[in-house]
Each structure stands twice: as C-alpha cells, then as structure tokens.
C-alpha cells in the first residue's frame, strides 16, 4: 500500500519538476545555502530555494521558524552570514536593499502617512518621466481598483484598501520579485478571503514573481503555486500545495498542515491519517473521549487500546457519545512516513 502511495507522490512531483526542466530561463530568484545567525544561533539554517519567473510561492511555518528573517535577507534588509541570493541572474548578496529590485508588502502595510495614495504608489518611480509616472500610477490604481481614492491619505482608508495600496506601491517599479510578509494577518477573516483572491489575481496580471510568508496553513494552501514548509530555520518540503497536504515529508509537516493522527507502521514509521480517513465504529476495545461538532460533521477524539489518541471524522454507525466503546478503521489509503531520526 505504501509503495503505491509513494509512487504516486513521486509521479506528481516529477510532473511538476518537468515544467521546471522545460523552462529555458534560469529561476527569477535563487536562494542558495543561506545561513543567518543571531548571537551564534542559526535562525535561517542553510536554506536553498528557486522561484521561477511569474511563480507564486508560499513560505509557511510556525512563528519564529525564521521565515521573516529569510525574507529580510532576500530583500537586503539583513545580510546573510553564508550563502548567496541571485535575482534575475544577478548575484545581489552584497547589494543594498535599494538596488535589488525587490518589492515589499507588510502586514501593517507600512504606508507613508504623509503622502497621498497616488504619491505612495509613485514613491519608487523616480527614474520615469512625469507622464510615464502618472500613467503607471493610474494603471496600478486601476489594477487594485482604487482610482477614486488616489487623493486620500492612508489613514483615511480601510484596512483592505491600505493593503491594496501597499501592493500597488510594491509593484509599481516592476520589481524582480515581490515579497509579502503576512500580508493579510491584520485583516479580519472575511476580508482576508476576499483580498487573497484579489491579490493573487493582481500579481498574475502583472506577471509578478512573488514569495508570500504566512503562518496560516489555510492561507498557505489557498494562495501559491508551490508551498515551502519551514521549521527551525530549515526548509522541510517544497512542493505543490496538494502534494504537501496529501504527502507531507514528515510528522511535523503532516500535523502542521491539518489535524493528523499517527498510526504505527510495521517498519517503525507511522501512517499519517486525517480525520476523514478514519472511521469510528460502535463496539470494541477503543473508547470515545469526546465529540466535537464542526458544522459539516462530527469529529471524535478516541483513545485506542494501546493508549494512543486519534481523531476520526467518519461515523458509519451513527453518532457516538463520549465513553462509548468503539473500533477505529481506516477508510482510505494512508500516507506512510518512514522512521524519523530521534523520534
């Protein structure tokens, strides 16, 4: 069973790689063995990552995993202790931020409070003639649908509008790559979903190469072409969102992307099971601990006879109550994870 699953995963990855191999151009952004230490401790610990022109990649990981530091290093706001950053074929490792052609969008928008919306967007367009500049500003205002608010000051805008100004400002000078640091974190959930779609569309229209940083796994799955999972300063897995979700590289990634139960495997490794892959049947040696209603269905926390706890989302025998004896059965092919060092 495991072999089949792994083969499928490899096939998918190979398909994706194939696209890379066909591309004639070198990657737009190449991060090569970047290490950044603070007080001797590596915060970014040997990260390598290639992003193609026009590609959108999401860097996801728990708070403090080093993703923002990596972003600052790419932008040139922080210097790497080791490794190289190559942007559009040019080694920019020693080049200051202002000459790297990197766009930045922050969670707090970081708009210039003393400048009107149009002037914020025009800020980075200093090499253009007056007419070219206003044409480009108008184009971007139109793109982010803020033409009517061009004369406003940032504090007179809503959070979502500010975010779109920040995006337009970063895109205006046509940067080689746009870096977005938790761009939606300060917005409320509904607005976030809406804006996420808008921003992705705008980036596509501009053929922009983008690297998002987020700690929100739902967002990570929704946004990018590829997803890079980061933990303790290292990249654990870089692949299409669906591959990362269905075939996580390790237990951490599996659990980080969605609720995961781990069932022991014969080789000392584990099978990673999502709730929808586990059914709970009435009667047996296992026991229901609690039941949670999730809107779409029920989820059961079950203590198995061997003492482990699992979460199951399928209940063919109808609802069970806490304390009921039960049995756990797998209803899908599970993803196998080989034994991990140190676990």
């Amino acid at each position: 069973m495991t072999a089949v699953v792994n083969e499928a995963a490899h096939e998918l990855t190979a398909l994706h790689r194939g696209r890379d191999a066909d591309a004639i151009a070198a990657p737009m952004l190449r991060v090569e063995g970047v290490v950044r230490r603070f007080a001797g401790r590596p915060v970014v610990d040997g990260v390598s990552l290639d992003i193609d022109a026009g590609e959108q990649v999401v860097l996801v990981g728990p708070s403090g995993c080093g993703k923002s530091t990596l972003l600052r290093t790419i932008a040139g706001l922080d210097r790497a202790d080791e490794g190289r950053i190559v942007l559009d074929g040019r080694d920019v490792s020693a080049i200051p931020a202002e000459r790297r052609r990197v766009g930045l969008v922050f969670q707090d928008h970081a708009l210039f409070g003393h400048l009107r919306v149009a002037d914020n967007i025009a800020f980075g367009l200093k090499d253009l003639s007056r007419r070219e500049r206003s044409a480009r500003v108008a184009e971007l205002l139109d793109l982010v649908q803020l033409s009517k608010l061009a004369r406003r000051y940032p504090h007179e805008l809503s959070g979502g509008e500010q975010q779109r100004v920040a995006l337009a400002r970063a895109l205006a000078p046509r940067p080689a790559v746009v870096l977005l640091d938790e761009p939606f974190a300060s917005l409320d959930e509904r607005l976030r979903d809406e804006l996420r779609g808008d921003v992705t569309a705008v980036l596509r229209d501009e053929h922009a190469t983008a690297l998002f940083v987020t700690h929100d796994r739902t967002e990570a799955l929704a946004v990018g072409d590829r997803l890079a999972v980061m933990r303790d300063g290292r990249l654990i897995q870089v692949d299409r969102p669906q591959v990362v979700f269905d075939h996580p590289a390790d237990r951490f990634t599996a659990d980080f992307m969605a609720t995961t139960s781990f069932l022991p495997a014969e080789d000392g490794g584990v099978y990673a099971a999502r709730p929808h892959q586990l059914a709970v049947e009435r009667g047996g040696a296992d026991r229901v601990i609690s039941r949670t209603y999730l809107g779409g269905g029920q989820q059961y926390l079950v203590r198995r006879s061997d003492g482990t706890e699992v979460v199951a989302g399928v209940a063919p025998d109808g609802p069970l109550e806490s304390g009921d004896p039960c049995t756990i059965r797998t209803v899908a092919t599970l993803h196998h994870l080989p034994p991990e060092r140190g676990s």
Partner: protein
C-alpha cells in the same frame, strides 16, 4: 469644571480685555519708537533658535536611535541634561568666555544669544524627535529602501516627514520658551517683545503700556499654535501596529568615535565648560565672602526655590488630573473646554504674570477677595500664576497617557462594580503614572528655572535662586551669580533624572 476653567483662564482674559479699550497714544508712541525693532528682533531670534534646535535636536535624536555605538544609552540620557540649564546661566558663561575673542560689543549679538538659547532648548526637540523615531514603523523605512531609497534618502523622504507632527510640537515649545525668555535676551541686549514688557513695567512703571505690549505676545503665541496645527495638516501616521522599529545600525570604530565626539562637543558647550567656569567663579565669590545676598544665604534661596517649585508642581498636577477626569467624563464639549483652560501653555510668562497682577488688584479693589488671601505679593498668588502658566503640561501629560488605556480595561473595572472615583484612583491613575511623573518632572524643571512670573509676583522675602541670578547678572556681578546658578543646575538635574526614568517606563513627551 466651569469654576476651575474660569479660574485658570481669567488672567489671560484680563490681558485680552485691555484690547477693548486700547490706549491709542501709547500704541502710537510705541510704534514710532521701539516696537518695530522689538518685533524684528523677536522674529529673528525665534527663527534662528528654531533652526538651531531643529537641526541639533533632530540630528542628535537620529544619531542615538538609528545607530549603535558604545555608550549609546548613556549618551541618549546625557543629551537631555541641558534641560536643567537656564538660558540666562549659559548666556552668562558664554558672554564672558567669548568677550575676549569677539570683544565686549561683538559678543552681545542676537546670533550669540540664539546659539546660547539653542544649546539650552534643543532637548525639547530632541525628546520629541527621539520618541517619534523610536515609535516609527521600521517597515516604512524598509519599504522605502526596497523602492530604491538609500538609508540617507529614506531618512529625508520617510522618517523625517513622518516625524513632522512631533517635530512641530517640539519646535512650538522651543518658540514659546524664546518668546517668554527675559533673562538671556537682556544679557545680550536683544530687545524682544517680552523684554519690552518687562522694561516698560519696571523702568517706566507704565503698567497699562506693558499690558498692551503683552497682547502682542499673545498674538505671537496664537500664530505659533496655528502654524503648528497647519504643519500637522491632514497627513498622519499610518497604522503601525505590531511592527518593530528598525534595529539601530552598528557604527564602525571611526563612526563611533565621530558620534561620541559630536555628543561630547554638545555636552561640553552646554554643560561641562559652563559648570567649570561657574565653579571657578563660585570659588572667587567664596574668597571675597560674597556667598549671600542681603536677603539671605544659599540655603534661604534654595529653600524658597524648592517650596515654590514644589507647590507649583503639585498644584499643576492636581489641577491637571482633576481636569483630565472631568473632561474624560464629559466627552466632546468637555474636551473643548479642557483646551480652553489650558491655553496658558501658549501664553508667555510675562503675560501670565501681568494678567494675574491686573486681575488680583482689580478684584481686591472691589473687595472680592476673601481675607486678602490671594493678594498680589502673597505666596498663594505666585503659585496661582505659575499654575495658570504650567497646568497644561499636567493636563496633557495625564490625558495622553490615559488615552492610551484601552477602553476595555475601564469597562472591565466598571462591570466589576467600581464607581468612577474608584476606577480613577485604582485603575486609570496607576496605569497613567509614568505619564503623570514625566509631566511633573517637566513642570518642576521649568518652575525652578522660571524667571518672569517669579520676578514679578514673588512675595517680599521670598527671593529664589533664579531671582538671585537675575539680580546679580543685571549688575554684571558674574562671580556672585555663580553659586545660585550651580544650585539651580543641581536642583534641576533631579527632575531631569525623574523625567528620564519616567520615559524609560513608557511615558510620552507631550506639549
């Protein structure tokens, strides 16, 4: 509330009232003689000192926030110290030190005077600028860098414009101090409007004319506040929630040496050299047995200064807290009223002094003052005038730090059954204490240095250290002014230290 406001605003209303019945001949005579020169000198001096303090204060603030070098924290504190140095003391020292190279006439110029005031007043701009630079979103600078700005360009195009409201507030305070100054300008023969008020009052004994000139000062102050509001404009800070300021950039050994040298130069000019000179003079006075005035010795003057500064600070803080409490519970109309009765901060000392004298003598003539309590020349009358002048600092210090208390905190206290009084004393004030402390420190250091109000209203036999310095310097008896000057400096250092402590504890500088 209304009573408190009336009491605090009355002296100013009185001064403005004199406009209703202007003495035409006085005006005409003034215009034909001294007034144009006074206005010109005032404007030149204000412009020069504003330029100086903005460059010096902003530059130093930028140095200690954007760069990292050995002793950075200590330098950051020490640069505030000149706040305790009165302009008339620094002026006295440099007048003497520079009279050799520049000549006795050359040194008495408006430019030397402006330089002296710059070195005593830059800490206001420095404090505001430092706070503004510290709280600015590092992300804005990062964004500017990624849009093609070098660090220096990012400073000019983003950091500085964003700090503009704070710089305007600091500059307004400086301008107000320059308008109010009488000790320093007199020393350098710069005849400003404030100086004119004092001269006409004392030398000509013409109180009506003095009051009328004082109106000009009110006009200048109003102009200043309007200018400040206009400078703030529509542009405001964008939201900067959750972003960290840019970490300071480590300077090379050479750069560090340069930074330390710059700071050391400022401190040498503003504190170190003057103190050395004052000590020498004080020793000379000691040898000549001139360590006291006819009124009393050092202890006597020191005691009076401490009593007056202490009482004025306490009154300002209590009145400020009372105002804050009432205003915060009255909503918008209360806020307007609050602004009105703290207008005193915008009114120069001599005006407040004259207003108080005119008000109290008028009231007394009509027998409206109970038992001679507030008669001119009493301790109470002096404290009253000082409160009118400085209550705004108490009010704004309390108000701004209370405004930062999340409304949910107050709501929680209320739902837990606390009455307004209990909410105020158990929740709001304790949370605002750093702000209140900072305000008290600023008021204390100002009242210790304060000259015009104290000079005009001091009770008989209550000469302070600043009055001693004034009397000695107006007769050019420098060595006799040294001892009280050193005492003012020493006393002033205490509130400056308290201010630094409060700022470290999260207090804000306000104007």
């Amino acid at each position: 509330m209304v009573v408190l406001c009336t009491v605090l605003a009355a002296p100013l209303v009185v001064v403005l009232w004199s406009l209703v019945d202007p003495a035409g001949d006085v005006w005409r005579q003034m215009w034909e003689t001294r007034l144009p020169g006074m206005i010109r000198d005032t404007l030149t001096l204000v412009a020069a000192v504003l330029t100086g303090t903005l460059v010096l204060g902003t530059g130093l603030a930028w140095l200690v926030t954007a760069y990292d070098f050995p002793l950075r924290r200590v330098v950051g504190w020490v640069l505030v110290a000149p706040l305790a140095m009165p302009g008339y003391v620094l002026g006295m020292v440099w007048l003497n030190t520079l009279s050799d190279p520049l000549g006795a006439r050359g040194v008495r110029s408006i430019w030397v005077c402006a330089a002296v005031l710059t070195f005593t007043l830059y800490p206001y701009v420095y404090l505001f600028a430092r706070a503004a630079f510290r709280e600015q979103s590092g992300h804005a600078v990062a964004a500017a860098r990624s849009l093609g700005c070098s660090p220096a360009r990012a400073f000019w195009r983003v950091t500085l414009p964003t700090a503009r409201p704070s710089l305007a507030a600091g500059a307004a305070l400086v301008a107000m101090e320059v308008l109010t100054d009488i000790g320093t300008v007199r020393m350098f023969n710069v005849s400003t409007i404030a100086d004119g008020v004092i001269r006409v009052w004392f030398d000509n004994g013409d109180r009506d004319a003095a009051t009328e000139i004082a109106v000009l000062l009110v006009g200048a102050a109003v102009l200043l506040i309007t200018a400040e509001r206009l400078l703030r404009g529509r542009a405001r800070y964008a939201s900067t929630t959750g972003s960290l300021p840019t970490p300071p950039q480590r300077l090379s050994p050479l750069g560090s040496a340069g930074a330390l040298l710059a700071a050391a130069t400022v401190i040498t000019v503003a504190i170190a050299l003057p103190v050395r000179r004052l000590v020498l003079w004080a020793q000379e006075a000691e040898r000549n047995d001139q360590t006291a005035t006819v009124a009393g010795d050092l202890g006597y003057h020191l005691g009076n200064t401490l009593r007056i500064a202490g009482a004025a600070t306490a009154t300002c803080i209590v009145a400020g807290i009372a105002l804050t409490m009432v205003v915060r519970r009255r909503g918008r109309p209360g806020r307007v009223l609050g602004r009105l009765c703290t207008i005193g901060y915008a009114v120069p000392g001599p005006v407040v002094a004259i207003g108080t004298v005119v008000l109290l003598t008028t009231l007394e003539r009509h027998g409206l003052l109970p038992g001679g309590m507030l008669t001119v020349g009493t301790f109470a009358a002096l404290i009253y005038a000082l409160t009118v002048r400085f209550v705004a600092a108490g009010y704004q210090g309390t108000d701004s730090s209370m405004a930062k208390i999340p409304p949910q905190v107050v709501a929680s206290a209320r739902t837990l059954g606390a009455r307004p009084w209990r909410v105020a004393t158990r929740v709001e004030l304790p949370l605002a204490r750093a702000g209140v402390l900072a305000a008290a420190a600023l008021i204390a250091v100002d009242t210790v240095k304060e000259l015009p109000i104290t000079l005009l209203l001091r009770p008989f036999g209550r000469d302070t250290l600043s009055v001693w310095v004034w009397q000695a310097t107006s007769q050019s008896l420098w060595s006799q002014a040294a001892l009280p000057s050193l005492a003012i400096l020493a006393v002033g250092m205490v509130p400056v230290a308290v201010l630094l402590y409060a700022l470290e504890r999260g207090a804000e500088v306000v104007s």
